[in-house]
Subunit: 400 residues, 2 copies
């Protein structure tokens, strides 16, 4: 048997639709008898290092179907950053590749992961190993270069839209209410925070702060007070990555990002102290990347499509590329899939355009035209007998 | 014209289904031509004091229909506590009652609100005024006496169930993950926190802490460490009302409840400091009482039913009562509506039964049998063209 096997892994923070990309990979790979084995590498690249692979052909189709509404990373994820190629870890990867006769590798993640993808591809080329590597994008931050938008973003945006509307509708309940600070994910890029701007006029937040704009505490307090005095409540959306002096909460993650005290907690304190107005801080937290109930249908479809196209690219002999989306038009929404050099994506970040930020209360129509087609369709969710969303239970049978 | 008018108000913290009770009141009241006017009192009892009433017969039926998926308090709410009857405010209430010829009053709220209901009923009786008053229960805390359960609870529980499952599924993504602390509403009663216990074996939280159980920080840290060492992550649900020494965050609300620093933030600090394990605290916050997407169908039906039954009780000459639910069986679920003296409910609290708490990792089967029929059915949600849930836009036309 000289048929090359395919291995796929998930890396970085999960999104609501990363398992939809896994679904797409499975759906396409199963159609190709020329692929020797279809393997999942558990816990990202660690599965390749430790020869910890599962045979995806052993999974039940009903469970594979449910991947489309399963949050988290069904194969486990990892934040491991690859060391230099002289590290013995690379010898272990070669061992696994050779033992399992892997010729196709799919890497599903964000910009840190695309760095892993780039380095693996370069390493295999240097070693003259016949292993093709293709990246599949995912991130709720929407900050990857080359692609019009990233799978994971639209579902997170739809979660944000609905939850900010809940805060606005709830906020109107009292004659003198509170200031509600809604903290939204996005360490450096404000795409997800910005999504709240798509809400209709009477449902939208009063103020929106993105990390791409300079932030002044004085200006913030002035804006908030003006809204509160006029309306009796205020809903303010804030990116977690706002540039303001904060205490370091200690520690860094394995990619070297430091963890900071939450902006909403910090600004809530400032409001209480300086303005003496009641305030509630509301962090949308991990459901932004894990809520299958508010997933966008287009997002799921595109995550699947990119998984399928990535398999096709491998079989066509491509390597060192990331499958990406090019928008052809917004209304009606049309797009095409293309391959971008992964080196362009690795470790780079695409920020929210400064020209799309008009003020702390309004973004541009261009942004709303960009976002609208991505979030507009609701999904059909399957629930169990207790009213809880169903999720895939995989067997994860080890390759022996 | 001597036909008496009906007035309805909402009070206390909104729930996902309080506007469903308003829907029920409207649906029933519109059927009775013997009712002179159907009025909404804006911002709770304040609308009665200030003669700030709206004519509900002027609302569009399409918008009334959407009340069933509209969070917040569509007529505005209030946390105002009534002073002694010698206060001039009571003369203002009498003015409004007489000017608008109100003979029927409906008060929709929790136990503080049932105190308002009781006091208004006693006041009208003392004054020999012909004004009947009936209470309609609502609270996500499920802590009202007399009734088997409260409208608002089951929808909040379904939100909690689904969001805790998201945290669990997401938590499994890493080989060495974090400890996730999910903070759930319930100042004194643990009903809502307990609801997470209904999740299936592989989706449930590892630990559950209710305010009804004595809490020890040492025991908590020991339990958490044991789970984390065994599984590589842990999901812990905590009631906001846990009895542990905390900083007072300053201030009290108008019912005299003091505001405390969040338990999850406090315990996250303790975990970081004493165990050195990565931790994420996740407050489910106001969407617990404002998420129409995860509303329970039974909960909406019962909120409507109680609204209708309250109108019927008024027309039958009842007063000083609260419409309540008596459970006849859990499987199949059967119930009946009855009237409970509001004095039994005012200011009292129904706690989670101590006998249903087995340990910090398990509650009793009886509780799951109690909760299951209330949450099991999903609702059909209507979305707008941007994938955001629709909500009612009322005209709120003032009574002149």
């Amino acid at each position: 048997m000289n048929k090359k096997a395919l291995a796929y892994f998930q890396s970085g923070g999960p999104t609501t639709v990363i398992n939809s990309s896994l679904y797409g990979v499975i759906a396409e790979a199963f159609k190709h008898p020329e692929i020797g084995g279809v393997y999942g590498s558990l816990y990202g690249v660690e599965g390749l290092i430790d020869d910890n692979l599962v045979d995806l052909r052993k999974e039940d189709l009903e469970q594979i179907e449910l991947l489309k509404q399963t949050p988290g990373a069904a194969l486990g994820s990892s934040r491991k950053k690859l060391p230099g190629v002289e590290d013995p870890l690379f010898a272990k990867i070669i061992d696994t590749i050779e033992r399992r006769n892997i010729g196709y590798l799919l890497v599903n993640g964000g910009n840190d992961t695309m760095d892993t993808c780039y380095r693996l591809d370069s390493f295999f080329k240097d070693q003259k190993m016949d292993v093709k590597v293709i990246g599949i994008p995912k991130t709720i931050d929407n900050d990857l270069m080359a692609t019009d938008h990233c799978p994971g973003y639209a579902s997170a945006a739809r979660h944000v839209l609905n939850f900010v509307k809940m805060a606005v509708v709830d906020g109107k309940a009292y004659r003198r209410g509170k200031i509600v600070l809604v903290e939204i994910m996005g360490r450096n890029a404000g795409w997800l925070t910005a999504s709240a701007d798509l809400l209709a006029e009477d449902e939208r937040p009063d103020l929106i702060y993105l990390p791409e704009s300079p932030f002044s505490l004085e200006g913030f307090l002035k804006d908030v007070k003006e809204v509160y005095d006029r309306k009796g409540y205020a809903v303010v959306v804030l990116s977690e990555g706002l540039d303001l002096p904060r205490k370091n909460a200690g520690g860094t993650d394995s990619f070297g990002h430091s963890s900071l005290e939450g902006v909403s907690i910090h600004l809530a304190e400032a409001i209480k102290e300086k303005l003496g107005i009641g305030v509630r801080s509301m962090e949308l937290s991990l459901p932004q990347r894990a809520d299958p109930i508010l997933a966008s249908k287009i997002d799921i479809e595109e995550a699947i499509l990119l998984g399928k196209e990535a398999v096709k690219a491998l079989l066509a002999g491509e390597s060192g590329k990331m499958v990406a989306i090019r928008r052809l038009s917004s209304d009606p929404y049309r797009r095409e899939i293309f391959l971008a050099p992964v080196a362009e994506v690795a470790n780079a970040e695409k920020f929210f355009p400064r020209g799309w930020i008009f003020s702390s209360s309004r973004l541009s129509d261009e942004f709303r035209d960009y976002l609208r087609p991505l979030v507009m369709t609701a999904t059909h969710v399957q629930y169990d007998d207790d009213g809880v969303f169903l999720s895939a239970k995989l067997r994860l049978e080890k390759v022996r």
